[in-house]
C-alpha cells in the first residue's frame, strides 16, 4: 500500500496550493463582486494564492486540524489499523516537512499543551463497496470551524426550517470565518452523524450539485439566500459571501431533523488520495 507516500505529497501541496475547483470559484468571484471593499479583499486573496504557490510559506498560518474522511472498501486487503497508522504518519511528516503551524493542544479545558506534531488526526470512517481505500483530508482551520454548529429541528420543520437554521448560523458567523465561505451541510442521522455528514459535504467537488434534484435545488437556494445577506468577502460587504453549498443526507428518527453546518474559509484546503 502506498497510501503514506501519496498522502504525504498531497498534504505538502495542500497547505500551499488550493484544489483547482476551489481556486476557480474564487477567481470567478472577482468578476462578480459588486462592492469595492469586497473586490479589494478578493484581489489580496488572489495575490496571496500566487505568493503561496511559489512556496515555501503556507497559504494561511492556521494550517488547520487534520480531519480525515476515509472510505474503506469491503474487500480491501488492509486493516483499519494499517490504514489509520499510514494516514497519521503522513499527516505528522507533512506538518514537519511543509512548515505547518503546530496548532493542536493535548487537553481542551485544562492543560492546553501543544502536542507539537498536529496529532491526533480526527477520523471519520465509512465502509463502502469495492476494494479501494479513499482518504480525503481537510486542513480544517478554526476561525471558520468556530462558526460551525448543529441544530436539532422539529421533524415537521421541513425545507423552510433547514434554510432558516442555516441562514441563522451563517448570519451569526458574519465576517468571522474569512468569507467567501464554503459551506458543508449534513442533514439527518443523529446529532453527531449530521455533523460528520457536514464534513463529508465539504469534501465534495466545490460547486458540484447533489444527485437528487430536490437537494440540488436546496443547495442552490441556500447559496442564493446566503449571498443576499450582504456579508461579502472578508465580511466587508458584498454579494460573494459563499461560493459553494453542498448537502449530504442520511435517514433519521421520526422525532427529529438534525441539521449541521460546517463552515470553511475561502482557503478550502484538502488532500485526496485513492489506493487500491
Amino acid at each position: 500500500m502506498d497510501l503514506y507516500e501519496k498522502l504525504l505529497e498531497e498534504l505538502k501541496r495542500a497547505v500551499r496550493i488550493l484544489p483547482p475547483d476551489v481556486e476557480a470559484l474564487i477567481m470567478s468571484a472577482r468578476s462578480r463582486e459588486e462592492s469595492a471593499l469586497g473586490r479589494m479583499v478578493l484581489d489580496r486573496i488572489a495575490e496571496n494564492i500566487s505568493a503561496a504557490r511559489s512556496g515555501p510559506v503556507p497559504l494561511c498560518q492556521d494550517c488547520g486540524m487534520f480531519h480525515a474522511l476515509v472510505r474503506v472498501g469491503r474487500s480491501c486487503p488492509y486493516s483499519m489499523a494499517e490504514i489509520g497508522d499510514e494516514i497519521t504518519r503522513a499527516c505528522r511528516d507533512a506538518a514537519e516537512e511543509a512548515w505547518y503551524r503546530r496548532s493542536t493542544v493535548s487537553d481542551p479545558v485544562y492543560d492546553r499543551v501543544n502536542t507539537g506534531d498536529n496529532l491526533p488526526v480526527v477520523f471519520n470512517w465509512e465502509l463502502v463497496d469495492g476494494a479501494s481505500v479513499t482518504a480525503d483530508i481537510l486542513l480544517k482551520g478554526f476561525g471558520s470551524e468556530n462558526c460551525s454548529s448543529v441544530r436539532m429541528l422539529r421533524p415537521t420543520d421541513g425545507e423552510d426550517g433547514v434554510i432558516g437554521a442555516v441562514l441563522d448560523m451563517v448570519r451569526a458567523a458574519g465576517g468571522k470565518p474569512c468569507p467567501p465561505m464554503f459551506l458543508g451541510i449534513g442533514i439527518g442521522g443523529t446529532m453527531d452523524k449530521a455533523a460528520m455528514l457536514s464534513k463529508k459535504a465539504l469534501v465534495r467537488e466545490a460547486g458540484s450539485r447533489h444527485p437528487d434534484p430536490r437537494y440540488a435545488k436546496l443547495e442552490e437556494t441556500i447559496l442564493e439566500r446566503v449571498n443576499s445577506l450582504g456579508i461579502g468577502p472578508g465580511g466587508l460587504g458584498g454579494c460573494c459571501s459563499a461560493l459553494s453549498v453542498a448537502v449530504e443526507t442520511c435517514p433519521t428518527h421520526i422525532a427529529g431533523l438534525p441539521v449541521a453546518l460546517s463552515v470553511n474559509c475561502w482557503a478550502d484546503r484538502k488532500a485526496h488520495v485513492e489506493v487500491m
Binding site: 471593499l37 489580496r44 496571496n48 498560518q61 512548515w99 503551524r101 470565518p177
Partner: protein, 170 residues
C-alpha cells in the same frame, strides 16, 4: 494612506474608516493567551512586557519560518475572540488593533472613547503578510509557542480601517 509605528497622535487621528492603511515599523503580536496575560498583569499591577504608548497589537500566531525566511505564514486571526479583553487594553493605552472580522459593540464604543483604531487585515492571506515582515523576535511568553508575544518590523503591511478614532465605521 500610510501609518508609521510607533504612531504619532496626529497620524492616528487622521485615519478614517474605509481607507486602506499601509503600516510600517514596529508591530506587536498577541492573540488569545497573550490577551489573557496582559489583562491579568494589569489587574495585579505587574509590569507589562512592552510599552503600550504608540503601539499597535496584531492578532496573529505564525507558522514556523522556513529556512532563509524571517517568519512563516502570518495572517490575522479572528478578532472577536479578543473582544472581552480589548476595552481594558484600550483604556490602558493600547489603542491600535489589527485583526479580522467584526468587533463587539463594547469594543466599538471603547475605540471611540479612547480614540483608537481597529484595522482589518486580509483574512487567510498568511503568505502575503509573510512577505511584508522584515524581522520577528519573541519578547515575552515563549512557552506559548505559536501564541508567544512577538515584536515584528513590518513594511507596507496592508490593512483597511474598519473603526476610526471618532467611532466612524465601515
Amino acid at each position: 494612506m500610510r501609518l508609521e509605528l510607533p504612531y504619532d497622535e496626529e497620524d492616528l487621528l487622521a485615519v478614517r474608516a474605509g481607507e486602506e492603511v499601509l503600516l510600517s515599523g514596529i508591530l506587536h503580536v498577541g492573540r488569545d493567551q497573550v490577551h489573557r496575560r496582559l489583562c491579568g498583569a494589569l489587574e495585579t499591577g505587574s509590569p507589562l512586557p512592552f510599552d503600550f504608548r504608540g503601539s499597535a497589537i496584531y492578532y496573529m500566531g505564525p507558522s514556523p519560518a522556513p529556512a532563509g525566511h524571517v517568519i512563516g505564514a502570518a495572517g490575522p486571526t479572528t478578532s472577536a475572540r479578543m473582544d472581552p479583553y480589548s476595552p481594558m487594553l484600550l483604556e490602558k493605552g493600547l489603542r491600535v488593533m489589527v485583526g479580522k472580522g467584526p468587533r463587539s459593540s463594547a469594543v466599538t464604543d471603547a475605540v471611540a472613547r479612547y480614540h483608537g483604531l481597529y484595522l482589518y487585515a486580509y483574512g487567510g492571506c498568511g503568505a502575503l503578510y509573510s512577505s511584508c515582515i522584515r524581522s520577528s523576535r519573541i519578547i515575552a511568553y515563549p512557552e506559548l509557542g505559536p501564541e508567544a508575544l512577538l515584536e515584528l518590523v513590518v513594511e507596507d503591511f496592508p490593512t483597511i480601517c474598519l473603526i476610526d478614532s471618532t467611532g466612524g465605521q465601515c
